[in-house]
């Protein structure tokens, strides 16, 4: 079946603008994760959804970052008043049920560039 998809693949914006990044998980996966990967680094956890609710948002860096998953499937990561430091690849992953035994399957990411 289809894997995790993310749109757009690349996003260029200007400092101070608002952006939305979309993630379509594997069909039937109830758990969804967002990670951020800065240049030369490994992915860093942002937020985890179990169904429609955010089970763990401890990785969100500040209140400019917000994510939703209103119907328990597609998720949108929203960044307000973007800063140059927000430039990174934003990765989304999904798993069957979020159990520690479940594999997280990743999408290809969205590369965000803030000018």
């Amino acid at each position: 079946g289809a894997g995790v998809s993310q749109t757009p693949s690349n996003k260029v914006t200007e400092k101070g603008k608002y952006v939305e990044l979309r993630c379509d998980p594997i069909s039937g996966h109830t758990a969804l994760y967002w990670y951020r990967q800065s240049l030369g680094q490994g992915p860093e956890f942002l937020i985890y959804f179990q169904g429609t609710g955010a089970a763990d948002d401890s990785g969100l860096p500040n209140d400019r970052f917000f994510a939703v998953r209103p119907e328990g499937s597609v998720s949108t990561l929203k960044i307000q008043r973007t800063e140059r430091g927000d430039s990174a690849v934003y990765l989304c992953a999904s798993s069957t049920a979020g159990r520690s035994t479940d594999t997280q399957y990743f999408g290809p990411g969205t590369r965000l560039t803030v000018l």
């Binding site: 490994g42 992915p43 763990d56 990765l91 992953a93 520690s100 035994t101 997280q104 290809p108 590369r111």
Partner: protein, 116 residues
């Protein structure tokens, strides 16, 4: 908090040879999972192999195997018969077995180059 350290930013290996990538981690937990992910230029993270901490036997997946040393908190990846398609960034990752702590913690990665 858990940390994962990959001390080799870059490695290279001749095609068909064997290479070992190193990973150490720090945790106070006794039950957890360890992973190696591969990230080619397409950016998509692909699971290579996983190890459950409660299992003493080292995991193996075809040409990929791990050397898991729980007491030393070491988790290295061995790639045998290296192929050109193995060229990628490799990330070691940790995941707690505790419910409510499902996030992955990654190292900084090792870039593997395969020399034809």
């Amino acid at each position: 908090a858990q940390t994962v350290t990959q001390s080799q930013p870059e490695m290279s290996v001749q095609e068909a040879e064997t290479v070992t990538l190193s990973c150490t981690y720090d945790t106070s937990e006794s039950d957890y999972y360890l992973f190696w992910y591969k990230q080619p230029p397409s950016r998509q993270m692909i699971l290579v192999i996983r190890q459950e901490a409660y299992k003493q036997q080292n995991a193996t997946e075809n040409r990929f195997s791990v050397n898991f040393q729980k007491a030393a908190k070491s988790f290295s990846l061995k790639i045998s018969d290296s192929q050109l398609g193995d060229a990628a960034m490799y990330f070691c990752a940790y995941r707690s077995a505790l419910i409510g702590n499902e996030k992955l913690t990654f190292g900084t990665g090792t870039r593997l180059t395969i020399i034809p």
